[in-house]
Symmetry: C2
DNA sequence: ATTATTTTGGCAATCGGTTGACAAAACTAT
DNA sequence: ATAGTTTTGTCAACCGATTGCCAAAATAAT
C-alpha cells in the first residue's frame, strides 16, 4: 500500500496553531468570523502543513460536493467537445469540478451511469439525453438538472434558437434555385431532431419548396453514407443532415459514386463540428454556439443551486447561424 | 432549496428490515458474511427504498472514492477523446468514475487543477502533462499516477512503441525517392515530441536521408499553417508533423499557396485523430492505439491500487502503425 | 445432555469536517 | 466602576458509512 504521509487535517492545524479544530474550520470557511490575528495564525499553520480540505469529509455534513456531472451520448462525437469545453471553463471559474459520463447512445447505460454519478454531484447537465420526460423530471427532483438542446416541462434548459440559422440556410437554397429538399433525420427519440425537422418544414413550405424526411438514422458517419441511395431516389437537390457527421458521411458516399457536390447535390449539416471544414468541398452547416451553450448550462445549474428557484425559465439568447461553405450551390440547370 | 426527499440511508434500511445498521452495511458490502435470509430481507428493503450508497460517507472511513482523474492538456484536442473514451469504458467496467480536468496547455493550471482534484480521487492519469519530473514523482507519492506518452523514473506509464510506425513511414518515403526530410516539432517540453524526433532521426540516417527539425511550435492547426515557409525553405520533400492537427494546418497552407500535395510535398502526421481523413488529400499518419492506451492506463492505476506495488514496470505491448493515405507519394521527378 | 465450535448480528468508535449553542473575553456606553 | 453588547473561541452533536470486538444464538461433536 502506498504509504503517502497522509494529508494534514484541521486537527493537525488546530494543534499547531493552538486552537480548537472548530475554530480552524471557521477560520478557513467563514472569513471574518474569527479574529484576524488568530485567522492569520491558522492560515499560516495550514500553509505550513500544506493542508487541503478533504472534499468528502466536507461533503458529508454539507451535502455539497462542488462537482457537476455532464452526461453525453457519445464522447467521441465532436459536438460535445465544445460543450464540454465551455462547461469545463465555467465550472472551473466557480470552483466546481466536472465529471463526464457517457451513455454510448443507450438509455439503459445512461440511467445506470446517472444513478452512479448523481449522488456524487451537486447538479447534472444532460446533453443529448435519451431518457424520457418522466425520468428527467424525476431526476430533477433530486438534483438540479439542465438540459442541452431539449425541452422538458419544469426542467431548465439551454437551447439555442434554431430558427435563424435554418431560415438563412433555406433562403440560401431558395435563392439558388432549389425546389426539392430532404432532411436526413437522426434518432427518432431526439428532441432536437424533431425541432430541426419542424423548423425546416415550416421554412421550406414558406419558400414554396417540397421537403421530405428520410430516416430515422443513427447520428453517425456511416448512416450518412448509407443514405445516399435514398437521397438520390427522393429527387431532392439539397439535403439537410441531422448533424455534420452524417453530412460528412454523405459527402463521402457522393464522392465515391461520382456525384458532384454541390453541382448535383447540395448538402448542409448541423453543428459546425471540428473537422467539418476539412472535407472537400468543406461542409456548409448550421452552427451552434456550443462553447457558450456549455457555459450557460453550468451557469443555469449553479443558479438553481444558489437560489431556491426550482426551475429556471426556458429560453436563451443564443442563436444558430448558417455557415456557407462549399457544399451548397446553384441547382443543376 | 430543492427539497428532494433525501436519499435513503442504511439506517432507514435497518429500521425497515428490523436489523442493526452495521448489519446492513455488512450485507451490502460483504456478501456471505450475513445469513442468507437476513441478507435477502435487507436487499429487499434496500430495493424498496431505492437505496444508493452515499459515496462520500463511504469514502470517509475507507479513503477510497472509486474515482479516477484524467488530466489532459487541451480538451478540444481530438487525441484525448479516444484516450478518454478508452479510459472511460475501462473505468466503468470496474465501477470507477472518471473525472476529467484540463490544463489548457499550462503547467500552472495543471498544478492547480491537480491540487483540487487529487484529494477526491484514487488515482491520476496524466496525458501530455507539462509538469516536471519532480512534481510528477511527488504526486506519485500521494496517489498512484500513470503517465500517457511519457516516461519518468519510478512512475508507471503507457507508451506505445514509436518505432514500428515511424520505421514503416520512413521506409515508405525512402521507397518513393525522398532524400530530404523535415520534422515540424511540437512543444519543446513534450517528452513524446523528443521521442518522436529521436526515432525519426535514427531511421532517416539509417535510410541515408537528411532530416532537420523545425520548431518548437504550438501543437495546433495554426502553427502548422504558419510553418509552410520554413518547410519550403528547408528544401525537404517530405515532412513529419508533431501531430495531425499541425499536419492538417500545413495541408491547408499548402493548398492556399498552390503547393501540390503529395506531388511537391509529402506530409505525415502523428496520432490519426478524428477528421484526419476528411482532408484533401486525406492525411497519411502514424496511428496510436489511443483507445487501448486509455484502457491500459486505467488498468495500470487499478493494479497499483489493488496490489501493493508502488511502480508498475515500464513498457507496453502497444504499437504505432503507419497509415498510408493520400498526402504522401513519389518525390517530384 | 453437555461442551466446543462456528455463525450471526449488535455496539460503539472512527473517518474529517461543519455548525448551533453557549460561555468567556473584550469592548462600549453610561 | 458597572451594566450592556458584541466579539471570539470551545464544546459537542452530527453527516452516513465501515469495521474491530464481543456476546448471543445456532450448530456440531462428544
Amino acid at each position: 500500500m502506498r504509504v503517502s504521509k497522509k494529508a494534514a487535517t484541521i486537527y493537525d492545524i488546530a494543534q499547531l496553531a493552538g486552537v480548537n479544530p472548530s475554530t480552524v474550520s471557521r477560520a478557513l470557511t467563514t472569513p471574518g468570523r474569527i479574529n484576524a490575528k488568530t485567522e492569520a495564525k491558522i492560515r499560516a499553520a495550514a500553509t505550513e502543513l500544506n493542508y487541503r480540505v478533504n472534499p468528502f469529509a466536507r461533503a458529508l455534513p454539507t451535502g455539497r460536493t462542488k462537482m457537476l456531472a455532464v452526461m453525453v451520448a457519445d464522447i467521441t462525437n465532436p459536438v460535445f467537445f465544445d460543450v464540454v469545453r465551455g462547461a469545463e471553463s465555467a465550472a472551473a471559474e466557480e470552483g466546481y469540478t466536472l465529471v463526464i459520463a457517457e451513455s454510448q447512445e443507450s438509455s439503459i447505460n445512461e440511467a445506470d451511469a446517472l444513478e452512479r454519478i448523481t449522488p456524487a454531484v451537486d447538479g447534472v447537465i444532460l446533453a443529448t439525453t435519451r431518457l424520457d420526460d418522466q425520468t428527467i423530471q424525476g431526476l430533477n427532483r433530486q438534483k438540479p438538472v439542465v438540459l442541452v438542446n431539449r425541452e422538458v416541462e419544469n426542467v431548465s434548459d439551454v437551447v439555442p434558437d434554431n430558427l435563424p440559422g435554418i431560415k438563412e440556410a433555406v433562403e440560401h437554397l431558395a435563392a439558388n434555385g432549389h425546389k426539392h429538399l430532404a432532411f436526413l433525420s437522426g434518432p427518432s427519440a431526439s428532441w432536437i431532431n424533431i425541432a430541426r425537422w419542424e423548423a425546416l418544414l415550416k421554412f421550406a413550405v414558406a419558400y414554396g419548396m417540397t421537403i421530405v424526411e428520410i430516416g430515422p438514422n443513427e447520428p453517425n458517419l456511416e448512416a450518412g453514407s448509407k443514405a445516399i441511395e435514398r437521397i438520390q431516389a427522393s429527387g431532392a437537390t439539397a439535403v439537410f443532415t441531422y448533424n455534420d457527421l452524417m453530412g460528412i458521411g454523405l459527402l463521402r458516399a457522393a464522392a465515391e459514386r461520382g456525384i458532384k457536390v454541390p453541382k448535383e447535390l447540395s448538402i448542409i449539416g448541423f453543428d459546425n463540428i471540428f473537422g467539418s471544414d476539412f472535407t472537400t468541398p468543406p461542409l456548409s452547416t448550421i452552427a451552434l454556439p456550443l462553447v457558450q451553450v456549455g457555459r450557460n448550462a453550468v451557469e443555469a445549474v449553479l443558479r438553481q443551486l444558489d437560489s431556491n428557484e426550482d426551475v429556471v425559465p426556458h429560453g436563451s439568447d443564443l442563436q444558430t447561424a448558417f455557415i456557407l461553405r462549399g457544399s451548397t450551390g446553384q441547382v443543376k440547370a
